[in-house]
Structures are given as C-alpha cells and as structure tokens.
Symmetry: C2
Subunit: 328 residues, 2 copies
C-alpha cells in the first residue's frame, strides 16, 4: 500500500513555508539531560506562528488552493490550534475562513481565532457542542452551502506534509538523533514527522505519545484497525481526538515503533518543569512527548544514552487554567 505522503511532499511544503513560517529553535537543558541520562533536543513549535505546529499544515494546504477555491474560502473544524492556524493562513493568503469550534474550547483560543480573522470579509467562528454534535457533519454542511473547501485538521495529505516540516528542520539541525518523540492526536504531526525522520535518518525510532485517557491510536496499533473512542477527558485538548485518520493511520502503522501514554498529572509536572527550569510555556498536548521521557511512560524503552528529538507541539494555553496548574 502506498502511503499518503512521501518525503518529496514534505520538502515541497518546506519550500512553500520558507519565509512564512518560523524556523523554530532547538532547545536543550542540562537539567533535563541529567535527570534522564539522555540527550534531549526540543523542537520549539510553541514558538511557531500562532503558537503551534498547526500553522505549517494549514498554510501548506491553503497555499495550494486554486483561484476559485481562494475566492470562496476555507472551512475548518478544530479543537483549537488548527482553528487559529487556518484563520491566520487564510488571512495571509487573502481568503475568507469559517472555523467550526467547540463551545468549550479555551477562551484564549476562541479570541485568538477571531483576532486572526479580523479584516477578512466573510470570516466567522461557528460554535458547537463537542459532546452532542458531530463537528464533521456541521463542517460539511457549511462547506456545501457556501462552496468552501473543507480542510480537516489532520487527515489530509497536504496538512500531513506541512506538519512533517517540523521534524525535517529538527533532523537538519541535529542529524544524529536515534529517537523521535511526537504527540498523537489525529496523527497528522506524527505521520509527517515519521516520513521526514525515516527519510533523513533511516533506522530512527519514532514513538508516539497519547494521553492515558485517550489512547485510541495505541489501541488501534494493537488491533491493526482504527479504533473509535468517546471524546476523552484529558487536559491535553489537542489530543481529544476520537480516532486516527484513514490517511494518517497507515503511515503510523508503517513507520512508528509504538505509542506510549502519560497521565494528566505527568503533563502538569512537565509543564512545571518547562516553566521553572527552561522558562518556556508549553501547553498540555505539547508536553506529551517530553513527559514520556522526563516522567516515564508505561512500556517505554530504556531512554538512557539515547539522543532524543522531542517535538514541543504548541504553547497555547488559557492563562487562568495554566496558572492554576503551575500554582497547584
């Protein structure tokens, strides 16, 4: 079976993103290295435009719209960061955007999404209840009514290719990694990352990390088919997905060594580590990969002695909740 994306798609995405996305830095910490016995290299996507890697995938997809598609605009549904990414990318490319967001999304993400739409006629945020309504159905209906192109948050080749550019940059900057840790929601980031990592560094071990409460991809790998779960209750709102994608899952099956899980308590301790020792604000989902090595994860391999790349996927947190986690 041919995978949905190849390294050439990721390199082409990198070309489209050059001068538009930030080439984010790679951060290190002596304390983290001492604590784990490994050498850790954190790809700082919380310092990406709009605060998360999601900008890469959204922009890469929207940049390939035809003139007709641009005129009608884009629609997206998202638990947060894909919303902001689409809204910002659409404005940069001069097209309308409709963003379908859960009504309980962090207020900061709602506000930021609307701010990114400002000055772009035809743009709006549409809210839904994520426990009772089907966001995909809502998105498809509006797309049909307004002739808009739906860009899903992960199950799309151009989105996956865009996300892969983060790992591409990391492997360019630190070529001799032997392990890569990536958070898993719907699988767009880890699919793109795995393709990039294996192309630049054959033999590298790519591990996914999910919240304990939402380990659908771990289950799916065990069963060999895409498992659907209820919307999981976890502070990692970017990983509150119910299932992998039909395009992302085959890539994960082919190129990912395994999926580990960490608890919300471990995510909070990892957020505190980043704030206290590295002075960085990383959101819960962004801490998944780091928590697996800093805090330990059930079933994890021996990390000591490894050179490990870790994607910090984002830093968009509601300050009230974040402050409470730090103060606890």
């Amino acid at each position: 079976m041919t995978l949905a994306i190849q390294i050439d798609h990721i390199r082409a995405a990198a070309g489209r993103l050059a001068g538009v996305a930030h080439r984010t830095p790679v951060l290190t910490s002596d304390t983290a290295n001492q604590r784990t016995g490994a050498q850790l290299f954190f790809k700082a996507e919380h310092l990406q435009r709009m605060g998360a890697f999601k900008f890469r995938g959204a922009y890469n997809a929207l940049a390939q719209f035809t003139a007709d598609q641009r005129r009608a605009g884009v629609i997206a549904f998202s638990s947060g960061n894909h919303a902001q990414a689409t809204a910002l990318s659409a404005r940069l490319l001069g097209m309308p955007s409709v963003i379908v967001m859960p009504q309980d999304a962090p207020p900061a993400k709602l506000a930021a999404t609307r701010a990114y739409q400002e000055g772009q006629p035809g743009s709006e945020v549409v809210l839904y209840d994520r426990y009772t309504e089907d966001r995909e159905a809502i998105g498809r209906r509006i797309a049909e009514q307004r002739g808009m192109t739906l860009i899903p948050p992960y199950d799309h080749p151009q989105v996956m290719a865009g996300q892969g550019t983060a790992a591409l940059e990391l492997l360019e900057d630190v070529p001799d990694l032997d392990t890569l840790l990536v958070c898993v929601g719907g699988g767009g980031l880890i699919a793109g990352s795995a393709v990039a990592a294996h192309a630049l560094r054959p033999g590298i071990e790519v591990w996914g990390v999910e919240p304990e409460a939402g380990n659908d991809t771990q289950q799916s790998l065990a069963l060999g088919r895409i498992v659907h779960i209820e919307t999981p209750a976890t502070i990692a709102d970017g990983a509150q997905t119910q299932h992998s994608g039909t395009l992302t899952f085959p890539v994960i099956q082919a190129l990912v060594r395994g999926v580990l899980t960490v608890s919300d308590a471990q995510l909070i301790r990892t957020m505190r580590f980043f704030a206290e020792r590295m002075k960085q604000v990383v959101e819960p989902t962004g801490c998944l990969g780091a928590a697996a090595v800093l805090e330990g994860a059930a079933g994890a391999p021996e990390w000591r002695g490894r050179r490990i790349g870790v994607v910090l996927s984002g830093g968009n947190v509601d300050l009230a909740r974040y402050g409470a986690w730090l103060a606890a």
Copy 2:
C-alpha cells in the same frame, strides 16, 4: 571623576565568560511591535545559566580570585539571583560559597541556591530577616571569621563589568538601536549596560526602570545624591534595594537619560503578555523594562518609531506565586 568601569573591562569580562555563560538570544514579537509602534528587541537573560544575568557578574568576579582567595571561598548576600549566580560560579570554579539570603526569599530560589552548592565542601546558605537585620553586617562578619572574599551583588567593578556583557552582546547583534531599557535595583546591570551601549552606539538613550514603590534611583538622580529608602513592598524582588551603590550611581548619573517607574499591576500584565504571546516565563523584575514600553510609564518619552533594546533580566519565579499572577 573617573567611572568605576570602562568598555575595556566589559570586553575582558566577555572573554572570561566565553564558553561559560550562554550567549542568550534576542527575541522579537510582531504583537509587541504593533501594540507599541516601536521595534522591540528583547535580550533574553531569563534564558541565561541559573535563569538571570547575575551569572555574568558573579562569574567575572570569581574568575579573578587569587589562589588564596579561591581556597577560602566566596561569601555573598542577595535577594535571590546573585545568590544562585555566586553559588553556581563558585562550584564551577571549585571554591566554597556562603550565601546570606533573606528568610522570605522565594522557596525556589533558596532550593536552587542549595542545589548549586551541592558537592562543594564548605558551602552553605545562611538566612536572615530582611526587615530587621542588616545583611551587609552579617556578610562582613562571616567574611572576616572565615577569611572569605565578599562579593556584593552590584557595587563592585568586576560585577558591573560582567553585567555589561549582556548589553554588549545585544548591541553586537542589533547595532542600530536608539534606545535601551534596563531594570534598576542596585544599579549593577544598568551601569554596565550603559557603559557598553554608549561605547558601541554613541548617542543611544539608556533609560532605567524601577518599581513605583522602590524608586530610590529616580529620587537620587533628582537630588544628585544617593537616596536611601525603606525596603520597598513590590513583587519585583530583584529591585527591592534600598539605595544605589557608590560605584554604580556615578555611572548612572553620567550615562543614563532618566529612570521611569511602573506599578506591580503593570508588571503582572507584562508577565501575562510574555506567557500568552511569547511563551516566555519572565520574573517581575525582569519585566520592568518591557512594562515601561508595553504598559507605558509616567514621564516616558514617545516610544513610537524607535528601535528599542530591552533587557529581560531573569526568569526565576516561585511557581505558586507566578501561577496565581497568571490566573488572576
């Protein structure tokens, strides 16, 4: 009158610090620029070793100890960051350190100071009450008893020269600044910064920023002599100094355009800005310079159109207090 330090002292300090201190990055923010109408360049000393610029001055001083001085070790008194800076520098140079700290210093700073002393025989932390006891007297007594060399937190030429290397690097990286904003406690950082900035960029305006509650340097400039105040009640614990130094004040008089003040509420809003928009943890004292332009300060000049360097002096905060400020 000859000033206590010249640019040559700062360049020599930079040589001693090469490969030991971090050359911290210069951060920018489109949002900050849009909000202020200025171009802001943040020198990220919260990403310095031990989390603050203080490492530069302490290491520069300790690196010049004689063999006898190294054997007996160093003593320092500090409201926090100079403590950690001295403890770390002493361990790196293999000498004992005694740190005299206020008993109400943030717990994270006490713990970090003791952690930096670990494995170095003869090292300890001595606590005192900053509202009833005189830390300088305590420090001098121990120094005499144990033959230790006292390194004060700011009023010392080698400390001042070390602190000036942060501005030296900033002006090397961004040569065409017209303004530099620096927080003011005892004046070591701003004195070193002013000497470096005027040497590299003649005509640059260097402004100091103090907390409203502790504007001793502003008063001193107005009266033309060093004014002593009560220990000010402010969240900017690094600026809870009672007076400028006899070495720092003449430099400030000669090279600093003026001192502005900001309120604790403005510091909290600035901390929230750095966390939310730039994903950076900056301590209250570290926000003084940024608050003067992001929040506005009484008596400030027109910032619009300027290219402004801002020293973010540190990021060491007690997470419980910091979390409460963010959540408020």
